[in-house]
Structures are given as C-alpha cells and as structure tokens.
C-alpha cells in the first residue's frame, strides 16, 4: 500500500515538473509519434510487395505491431534503466538511492519514469482497432481482461530482461554495449516468430523471450489456436523473468562497490 501511495506521489511530482516545460513535452510526444509512424510505414512498404509473410496477412502483422506497442509503451515509461551504469554506478547516484527506505529498484523506476511514452499505448490500441476492423475480429467480454493480463506480462518480460542487463554493472566495471543491441533484438518480437529459423525462434521464446511481448499474446486475439498455449504463458514468463531479475538485482546491490569521491 505504501508503495502505491509513493508511486502516485512521484507521478504527481512528475506531472508538475513536466507542465513547467510545456514545449519540451510537446516535442517529445511528437517525436514519439513520428517514430511509430515510421515503423508502421516500414511494415506497409514491406507488404506493398507481398500480402503474405510466412502465412500471415498484412493486417495480422499490423495487429501484432499494434499490440506490441502497448506493453512496450508501459516498459519505456517505467524502465528507463538503459543508462543505469553511467548514471547510477559511475556517478555514484546509487549511494543516494541506497540511503532511502524504499526498495532501490523501485526508486529508480520512480525517478526515471517518462509518462509521455504512454501515448505509445494509445497509438498501439488505435492500430489494433484499425487492423482488427479490417480483419473483422470480434471482441468478447473476456478480451479486455486478457489483454490487460498479456500487456502486463509483456511489460514484465521486457522489464525483467533489461533489469538483468543493468545488473551486469554490479559485477563488471566496464561499460557494455549490450543495451542498444537488446533494443534491436526486442524488435524481433514484433514479427511472427515462425518466419525465423528455429534457433532464433527458440531464443526469442525461452532465452530472451521477446516473442511474449508481441506475437504470442497477439495471436490469441487473432484466433491462431496453434499459439494459444504460448499466449497464456505470457504472464507466467513475465512473472518468472521479472522475479529472477529482482533476485539478481538484490544480490547485485550487495556487491555494489560505490564510486570514489
């Protein structure tokens, strides 16, 4: 309960700060939207040449893309830990975090949130509605709940993977370039995994389970029964990966060496 209250305190604070820099806020939202438009155009261009990709139609792929945007938006709003090494380890900001009576990872989530990324979720839902309409999908009463469950699961998958990567900084001094690479790999989850060869598919399912952010959960809403099992695994994988990442984090904090003054 305390954590929820604190969460809203930080959100309120965040909004206050953001309102003061209106121009900044608009620029950011605008560039976010632009970025997503570019991605969407890419998909449309690819399908300008063909209407099928590994047995998936254009609208299905657009639907998957739309779904992917929602957990991804949540992830980018709350897990801005890509610069964890520089900001918190090298500059020693973690010292300050560790002298406050809230879990350290939660504090970083709170400090670094960027709520304007949530607009990505709106775009995502709009894209899904558009694609769903062309596909003639019907919405049943369970869908919103499952959607919510899958979205949270997808966000936890993303969050878990990136928290684990951030944890590398606790063990290794050197900076790693894994973070940007991981953002690239994450994008593969937006496309149907059966178009990749089986090794990549295995990796995207069990090692870096990005497929659980896009294609697997979206398959449920597309009525692809052969993927249903995977769809329902989404929240499980999310909780498992995020759980592991928190355990890793906790043992990493014990090894934290601090930055010299």
């Amino acid at each position: 309960m305390f954590y929820i209250a604190i969460f809203f305190q930080y959100v309120a604070q965040y909004m206050k700060t953001r309102m003061q820099y209106r121009a900044d806020l608009f620029v950011e939202i605008f560039s976010d939207l632009l970025f997503q438009a570019v991605n969407l155009i890419f998909i449309i261009v690819v399908f300008g040449h063909t209407n099928l990709l590994g047995g998936w139609t254009r609208d299905e792929i657009i639907f998957i893309y739309g779904f992917f945007l929602v957990p991804y938006a949540l992830f980018s709003s709350f897990f801005n830990i890509w610069d964890f090494n520089e900001r918190y380890i090298v500059k020693g900001e973690l010292d300050r975090i560790l002298t406050r009576p809230i879990h350290s990872l939660f504090q970083i989530v709170l400090e670094r949130m960027e709520l304007e990324s949530l607009f990505g979720a709106v775009t995502g839902i709009a894209v899904m509605i558009y694609a769903g309409n062309s596909l003639g999908l019907e919405i049943s009463w369970t869908d919103p709940f499952l959607f919510f469950l899958f979205v949270i699961g997808g966000m936890l998958v993303y969050g878990g993977i990136f928290v684990m990567i951030a944890c590398i900084s606790f063990w290794a001094d050197a900076r790693t370039s894994i973070m940007p690479m991981m953002y690239n790999i994450g994008n593969y989850g937006r496309y149907p995994v059966d178009i990749y060869n089986s090794v990549i598919r295995f990796v995207l399912t069990w090692v870096l389970p990005f497929a659980f952010v896009g294609v697997y959960p979206a398959s449920y809403f597309l009525g692809k029964e052969e993927w249903f099992l995977y769809s329902f695994l989404t929240p499980v994988i999310g909780i498992v990966f995020f759980g592991i990442s928190i355990l890793t984090w906790n043992s990493g904090v014990k090894r934290y060496r601090g930055a010299g003054n």
């Binding site: 604190i6 604070q13 020693g92 406050r100 009576p101 934290y256």
Partner: protein, 335 residues
C-alpha cells in the same frame, strides 16, 4: 547511555586489477588479469555514544568514505561487525535508513528540477513523517538555516551554500537520531560554514543527535567535535579527544620576533643559551622564530631575555595549529 555505533574488526577489501604495461601486456590482460586485494578499511573498531559529535578525519583514500558507506548500509563489509542504531545497516537497510540522516557534500539528495519544498514534501512521504511532526520540527529547521526564501526555487538555481543548507534540512526531515555528514562544508564560504556549524550544535543539544562528520576542514572539527578518530591507510591511528591530541602532538609554542636592528642567529643563541630554545631564521622577512616547550613561565623568561638585549619591532606567540599537528602525524607516522 546506549551506543549509537558499534564497530568491531571492520574490514573492507576491494579487488583491483593492475594492468600490465605495453601492447603485449594489454593482450595478456585480456586473458588473465592480475587481481590485487586492496584493503580500504583494515580491522577497525570503535564506539560512538548517543549524542556524541565525532570528527572522522584522514587523508584522501584513507578509508573515510568507505567506512561511512558501510555505516550507512551502502556497502557490505568484507568482514567484521557493524551495529548502528541497534541494527545491521546492510542487512536491514530499508528499515535502518529511516533512522539516519545522510549528507554527502558532493552529491545532492534533492531533486534537481523541482522546487526545494516539493523535494521536502516528497521526502516527507518517503520517510512517512506525519504533518504534525513535520510542522513542529521543520519549521524550526527552516528558520535556523534561513532557507525560507529558497523553498520555492528549483535546486538547480541555488548557489552551493544555499543548496548545502537545503541538503542539511532535507537530511533532517525525519528527525533522525544519527546524522552522517561527509564533507558538509566543502567549498562553502565562511559565513555559511559558521551558520551550518551553529545549526549542528543546536540540533545536537536539542535532540541529542549523534553526529559523525568527515571533513578536510579541521576548523569544522575544532568548532564542533570533542572527539576525533583519525584514519590512515585503513587503520585508526588516533581515537580520543581533540585536546589530548593537541597536547600529545602539539610541539610547544613558537615565538616570532622581528627586530629593529641587524641580528645574527648566533647572537640569539648566546642570549638564550641557558634555556632549551631552538632558533630559526626566515631569510626574506627577517623573522626569527624561537621554538620552545609550552610552558608560560619559560616563554616569558625567554621574551624578557631577548627584549633586554635587543630592540624589538614585533612579537608574536603562536600555538601549533591542529592542521599542523595532523600534517606532522601523517608526515612522520605515529610512533
């Protein structure tokens, strides 16, 4: 009285790797690295009682910050025992840190972009401080530190001195019984320093707050602390009152003379031949300094002898400063 801090055989080792020289060395480093275990804090023990103000001093790299970080739960000790406020700082960290206040002079506790009072408000929630507690306690803190006019400014617009006073106030929001200050007056002007010192004294008297202070500015310690713990190379080399440190290591007094006439060192030595005095001459300004033990009678006798024989322009009696004493200790090592 309870001990606020108990430290037993505390040790912290860092693994540092030393790189070999040259390109060949770099290749070898790639395969096998030479690790060296470097003890930053080596088997130290001490106690601090509730309500004490202790100065923790040492050169750069002596292990001050490492100790503070272990006491505040940021770092895990390699071995040894730390009990602070009845808890193990690292194990019960999240519960423990609400019983301490921390100010790191070089790092801000406040949020950069938001107004100071917003930071305070957020910290108040983080530390679960009730409105009544906050009002009664913080009104006083804000008044004493004179930060009322700063409250609605964002932290990034404050000067260092202004920021530091706000930092101090922020560390005290939950009125902790124990306060850690790491270089709190670094880079501050004299007036702000004085204000901060006065404030710390007041807090200590009013709430019996224990204060552990590290600083390079020994005047802070002279103004505040009865007790100093001195660290060198990860070991405690002195733990006791500042007064006895001075008595033990202060090497008597210096008396500076300037004369109206040309004087030779040999003349002076002749005049004071009967007592134990060492003379030194400063070439440039023709200042002669007599080193003698700290004994009032001896000093007046010395002056009387000199004045009787030579025409004096200026006399100055100086006590060895704490700074000098400490420099001496570090130069020569404790024996």
């Amino acid at each position: 009285m309870n001990d606020a801090i108990t430290v037993r055989n505390l040790k912290k080792e860092f693994k540092a790797y030393s790189s070999r020289s040259g390109l060949k060395g770099a290749f070898r480093d790639l395969l096998t690295r030479n690790y060296k275990i470097v003890p930053a804090v080596n088997n130290i023990s001490f106690n601090v009682k509730q309500g004490e103000m202790v100065g923790y001093i040492g050169e750069n790299g002596a292990g001050k910050s490492t100790t503070i970080k272990m006491l505040t739960g940021i770092l895990t000790p390699t071995s040894g025992e730390v009990i602070v406020n009845g808890m193990n700082p690292h194990k019960d960290r999240e519960k423990f840190v609400s019983t301490i206040g921390v100010v790191f002079g070089q790092r801000s506790q406040l949020w950069w972009d938001i107004a100071v009072q917003e930071s305070f408000r957020l910290l108040k929630k983080v530390y679960k401080v009730t409105d009544e507690q906050y009002d009664s306690h913080m009104a006083h803190v804000i008044k004493t530190l004179d930060i009322e006019p700063l409250l609605d400014k964002p932290v990034r617009k404050l000067s260092l001195g202004q920021r530091m006073r706000c930092e101090l106030a922020a560390a005290l929001i939950h009125n902790p019984p124990l306060l850690f200050l790491d270089e709190p007056t670094i880079g501050l002007d004299v007036l702000v320093k004085l204000k901060i010192r006065e404030f710390l004294k007041e807090i200590n008297e009013k709430y019996n707050t224990t204060i552990l202070l590290t600083t390079h500015d020994l005047s802070d310690i002279e103004a505040l602390c009865e007790r100093v713990v001195m660290l060198d190379d990860g070991k405690i080399i002195y733990d006791g009152t500042l007064k006895s440190l001075k008595e033990k290591w202060g090497e008597g007094k210096e008396i500076e003379f300037q004369f109206l006439e040309e004087v030779d060192l040999s003349d002076l030595n002749k005049i004071t031949a009967s007592s134990e005095v060492k003379w030194e001459k400063d070439d440039k300004e023709a200042i002669f300094t007599a080193f003698t033990e700290d004994n009032d009678e001896l000093i007046s006798l010395l002056i009387a002898k000199v004045v009787a024989d030579l025409k004096v322009k200026d006399i100055n009696i100086k006590e060895t400063s704490t700074e000098e004493i400490i420099r001496n200790i570090y130069d020569r090592g404790i024996s």
